[in-house]
């Protein structure tokens, strides 16, 4: 990778020579590449799960219960003798899909609300933003838990819950960006040429917000995957026997003395996935707009 591929002039740092800066930049590129690779591998294993998983994730072998890792069972087996490796691989399907879908739900509702609130202002803005404040006044995860308790447990309902939990963050971000571009000359010009509101919002305002949205989405996917796993761990998310990482860990708690291997791999899978999205989000933010550091 050429270190000047983005063509961005770097601010000169007080300490460190040019060489050190280049090295650091290369390092940050490397880690970004590494994280993207991890995500691509995860996505590939999610798509190709039926082909790469050595066993059926739900097949029970009661004679092979809680077998420690070996050549045959790389990650060992769980309390029903199911192959942990296959379950972790299939679990990447659930987690990635759930992460992406729930963030998309947040996007789909949050962006139009934020755009219109910032653009039209007045009572509409007031109503929407107060509603978002209410949604944000629940402690971490509690809103998602309350929504899941209303809709009932399950994958789809958890995704809805986490989507709604994500929505206000998008709404606020988009609104604040809209407020900062609303009075610009090119928007006035668009008005003067008779462009409709919808077109102005989609063609002139939205592109200004894309960078922050991409950054936020990457970071929010990490949060959503954590939240899905947490709901699963509490028994409110994906229901057994579906191989979900959080649900797998809630079972491994019962066998912590007998079979500690059952708690290693699902947790490691969650950590790796979330870490990859978090680092990617951080590097994207630093590339696209370092000023966002204050916001996210």
């Amino acid at each position: 990778m050429d270190d000047n591929m983005m063509g961005i002039a770097l601010p000169r740092e007080r300490d460190g020579s040019a060489l050190r800066q280049r090295l650091r930049r290369l390092w940050s590129m490397k880690i970004t590449v590494l994280c993207s690779t991890v995500i691509v591998v995860l996505a590939a294993s999610a798509i190709l799960a039926p082909f790469i998983a050595p066993h059926d994730p739900n097949e029970q072998r009661l004679l092979m219960r809680l077998t420690p890792p070996s050549k045959e069972w790389l990650f060992g087996t769980d309390q029903f003798g199911r192959d942990m490796l296959s379950r972790v691989i299939y679990g990447s399907r659930l987690s990635l899909v759930a992460g992406v879908v729930s963030v998309s739900i947040g996007l789909i509702f949050g962006i139009p609300l934020g755009l219109t609130a910032g653009y039209f202002g007045g009572i509409w803005d007031e109503v929407i933003m107060r509603c978002m404040d209410i949604l944000l006044s629940f402690p971490y995860l509690l809103l998602a838990i309350a929504i899941v308790s209303a809709l009932g447990p399950g994958l789809f309902n958890s995704m809805m819950a986490i989507g709604i939990w994500t929505m206000p963050v998008y709404c606020r971000l988009v609104r604040s960006s809209v407020l900062s571009v609303k009075e610009r000359d090119y928007i006035t010009a668009a008005h003067a040429t008779g462009t409709g509101h919808v077109r102005i919002l989609v063609a002139h305002v939205l592109p200004n917000v894309l960078g922050p949205i991409i950054v936020l989405s990457t970071l929010r996917i990490a949060d959503a995957i954590l939240a899905i796993a947490s709901l699963g761990f509490l028994g409110l998310g994906v229901q057994p026997p579906s191989p979900e990482w959080g649900t797998m860990l809630s079972n491994s708690r019962l066998y912590i003395e007998l079979a500690p291997h059952t708690l290693v791999f699902p947790g490691l899978a969650i950590l790796l996935t979330v870490l990859a999205f978090n680092i990617l989000g951080d590097s994207l933010r630093d590339y696209l707009d370092p000023r966002l550091r204050k916001l996210m």
């Binding site: 740092e13 300490d15 460190g16 107060r130 404040d133 209410i134 006044s137 629940f138 402690p139 971490y140 995860l141 509690l142 838990i145 309350a146 929504i147 308790s149 209303a150 009932g152 990490a222 954590l226 796993a229 947490s230 761990f233 509490l234 028994g235 409110l236 959080g246 860990l249 809630s250 491994s252 708690r253 912590i256 003395e257 500690p260 708690l263 947790g267 969650i270 950590l271 979330v274 870490l275 978090n278 680092i279 951080d282 550091r293």
Partner: protein
């Protein structure tokens, strides 16, 4: 300043109402007949009808809410479907456990988070700083319950140093509090580090150093004092994270707090209990955020008391 505080307190009332309404609606749209769930399958229709009217399920939703709010003002959160005891009493038993746990985690996160953040900022771009940043990044990506399970495995199962579940002396508190604090410690450390770095670059810090003040004085009196606003704001955010995270930490360590009460109530569909737990957690969070806002305005003379 005084009027600002009063205004913020008054604004709290509609927020609390909205939280109660949202919680009420969420909990009451639950599919299925709550009376049937409590009574079980083997009951007569007459008994079910009586139970429904006792639980006010035969009344329209709006009236149910009005009555609920009326009771709320009397300090009555209803009766648990499961134990048939007042919700407030049940929460009263669990509440001290949760407060102990979150307060302990808060102390750890403030002490460790501030210290790590300051050291990391002072030693900016050193090996130590890079190491700290990597550890912090891993800490914010760790699922709370996995941290808990790992700690439980190493310290209770392997080393047998600390008890794995339950509540008792201080030894019972250590693992749950550590587990709960990891995420917020990392967040606080990251915020402290970047807030300190912003201030360190300012001219008045160079002036302070030029005056010949010792490094420690500059860092603590000039840098930290001016970096306090984002740090205090983060403490408010952290309260929410701790209150929510407590649900997970309590489940891992069977800590008899409000979080575990909530999870048990969710599994048994104990509506008044769910409602009570959610309302009280959200209420505490809103109150803490109010305090944080007031402290921030007090710290920052530039904020207009609007």
């Amino acid at each position: 300043m005084g009027t600002y505080t009063i205004r913020r307190c008054l604004l709290l009332i509609p927020v609390l109402f909205a939280i109660s309404l949202l919680t009420f609606v969420l909990v009451h749209v639950t599919p299925g007949d709550a009376a049937q769930i409590i009574a079980g399958q083997e009951v007569t229709d007459v008994f079910l009808a009586r139970l429904r009217s006792e639980m006010r399920l035969d009344k329209p939703l709006v009236l149910q809410y009005t009555l609920y709010i009326q009771d709320l003002f009397k300090g009555d959160l209803g009766k648990s479907y499961r134990t048939h005891r007042p919700v407030l009493e049940e929460i009263g038993f669990a509440f001290p456990a949760t407060i102990t746990l979150t307060a302990a985690a808060m102390c750890i996160s403030i002490l460790v988070g501030l210290f790590v953040g300051i050291v990391s900022a002072v030693k900016h771009n050193s090996f130590l700083d890079n190491l700290v940043r990597s550890v912090l990044l891993v800490s914010v990506s760790m699922p709370v319950f996995w941290t808990g399970l790992l700690l439980m495995y190493f310290f209770s199962v392997r080393l047998q140093l600390l008890p794995s579940t339950g509540r008792g002396g201080i030894e019972y508190l250590i693992l749950p509090a550590l587990t709960l604090s990891t995420y917020s410690t990392a967040l606080l450390a990251r915020t402290t580090r970047s807030a300190m770095l912003d201030v360190i670059r300012e001219d008045f810090i160079t002036v302070a150093r030029a005056k010949g003040l010792s490094n420690l004085t500059v860092i603590l009196k000039h840098v930290l004092r001016n970096a306090l606003i984002p740090i205090v704001t983060m403490a408010g955010v952290n309260t929410g994270i701790l209150l929510g995270g407590a649900i997970l930490a309590e489940t891992v360590f069977a800590w008899p707090g409000m979080g575990r009460l909530l999870v048990e109530s969710l599994h048994t569909r104990d509506v008044p209990m769910i409602q009570g737990c959610v309302m009280i957690s959200a209420g505490i969070f809103v109150l803490v955020n109010l305090c944080v806002d007031v402290v921030v305005t007090w710290l920052n003379p530039q904020v207009k008391y609007g």
